[in-house]
Symmetry: C2
Subunit: 334 residues, 2 copies
């Protein structure tokens, strides 16, 4: 049914070897012959069978994009931005394969025959088993969004600690002294980094750190809502709260409104990520912009280059800058 190089060979009165070489730009073929073959191929609208190619070349023509989980814990904007970034870079005759790591019970099907390379958007150190496996199989791997010290893998992530520090500074500079924190999902590395950044800003300014003002969260809107309720129940609630991400911040704002309080007049809120909606909350959310799409694009580019040249990128950790976006959810109380 489908046209193969043998079909072309028959029409061109050459061997299929010659056709193969002509189509792949081998210097062994006479220019005139090549043109003739190309023309026939074109006219028959030949497309190579990638399975056959892959089989003989020991390449898969597939790039895997993995998330820690697709089913839960990954926010929509995060997933979408990643897909946008990656799919813009990988050209269309690569297969773009997408999965959550938690879809797998064992990793036996993850091997070099199946994936030329992998982009891992990693959120949790539970991914380490996956990373270890991929490395042991020798699959080129770029890890995004989380620092992994293992040898031979390239990290690209946003400087969350720095971003959280900026957010903290902003609150402090605005005159806040009693600052609360709603944390991110416990096992996620980013959660720890953001906490550390905020705390560094507070320590640097000699502000006291009250354990009661630090409450757990899970990066969800519902989690932010509940955490903020807990903070508001304190005898003296904080005047400003740093939320580990925007989803959390939106939930937190709801809890504030529910008590009949106002943002930022009664309580200031800062988020993290700058998802699309954060400029449309009421009041608009002051937050830290994290360039997920840029990270993904950069990661995909790194991988593509790696595959093209065959030389691994330097084992370095690239941190893309975060940026404080000041909107309306923080009160100046000087």
């Amino acid at each position: 049914m489908a046209v193969t190089i043998k079909d072309i060979a028959r029409l061109a009165n050459v061997s299929h070897t010659t056709v193969s070489r002509a189509l792949n730009g081998s210097p062994l073929i006479k220019e005139e012959t090549r043109r003739r073959i190309m023309e026939i191929a074109d006219q028959m609208s030949y497309t190579p069978n990638y399975n056959a190619k892959s089989l003989v070349l020991q390449k898969s023509h597939t790039i895997g994009v993995f998330f820690t989980s697709i089913a839960s814990g990954t926010s929509s904007s995060f997933l979408a931005d990643t897909m946008k970034g990656v799919s813009g870079v990988i050209d269309v005759n690569y297969n773009l394969f997408v999965r959550g790591i938690d879809d797998y019970t064992d990793f036996s099907s993850i091997h070099g025959k199946r994936f030329d390379g992998i982009v891992l958007m990693s959120q949790s150190d539970s991914d380490d088993a996956f990373i270890y496996h991929a490395r042991s199989k020798g699959i080129p791997l770029v890890v995004l969004n989380r620092e992994v010290k293992a040898e031979g893998i390239c990290n690209i992530l946003s400087d969350d600690r720095d971003g959280a520090y900026l957010a903290g500074r902003h609150l402090i500079d605005s005159g806040h002294e009693r600052i609360g924190l709603i944390e991110g999902r416990r096992s996620f590395k980013s959660a720890a980094e953001r906490r550390d950044g905020l705390l560094r800003a507070m320590i640097e300014s000699h502000l006291p750190i009250n354990g009661e003002c630090i409450v757990p969260g899970d990066y969800t809107t519902q989690g932010g809502y509940e955490a903020m309720r807990a903070l508001l129940d304190l005898d003296t609630p904080p005047t400003a709260v740093f939320c580990a991400n925007d989803d959390t911040a939106i939930g937190a704002m709801n809890a504030v409104f529910e008590r009949g309080l106002r943002v930022p007049d009664d309580i200031s809120i800062v988020g993290f990520d700058d998802i699309g909606f954060s400029s449309y909350t009421n009041p608009a959310l002051t937050t830290v912009k994290r360039p997920i799409e840029r990270i993904s694009r950069r990661g995909a580019q790194t991988l593509v280059e790696w595959l093209r040249t065959g030389i691994a990128p330097p084992q370095e950790t690239i941190r893309l800058h975060t940026e404080l976006i000041v909107r309306k959810s923080v009160e100046e109380r000087r």
Copy 2:
């Protein structure tokens, strides 16, 4: 490097054919032999080479998930919900391939050798060329989210017209008579259906339809913001506005607040989709729930069944129910 059935055959002292049969559960193999082979395979942690399998079986083991566009026009929650729905159903030894149709300049690489089946989350009739192509190549195709009358393809979508009708009824029952509409993206079929649903409710109740109260939108938050500003600039603005989706509604609410007006006291707003954030807007958004994840899951199941049994599903249009979610953004003004 990688272990093949021939390696197993050598160790088991049988031919590779026997191994192949044993692993594939052929009844021709003695139970004892099978066990022995299985054990060896297991112990060597054998994984089949899917390229070789695909080559000989003329199957690709790949399911394509296509969007009209990944780069633009597809909201994050839409994309994410689709991925969640599909990836939950397709088992992990299928390749899950994801792309936007607009990534392609020509469809020559879309053929049966490359895709066992395709799930198309279609938003625009610009996808018709793609659909036609896939059909002509004989690729099993399930089209989600948009009705396509072409023969032999199965449609699964939400009943947007009915949902919009429900929203309209709700506004009318709440005492609104001057009702505005911010439309969806012009080329998207869903935009027209939602408009029709609303209009039907209004006509049914003998409400006048003012052209000036119907303004264009594009399913984006920014678009909703601008459209609502236009509505508010009217001499007599509507008392309630139906927005073609939640993103639009959120933008619209912002425009209302910006004028110092209140929702729902001064103006009522209804959205469509029930994205995650719509219960966290302030006030919480009354909207119509559209089960994207369920649609995707159902679509993927249909396709999987089709591939498993080899018999095409009846060419029908399945409409999953939408549901009115009443929250706080509509005023009772009776």
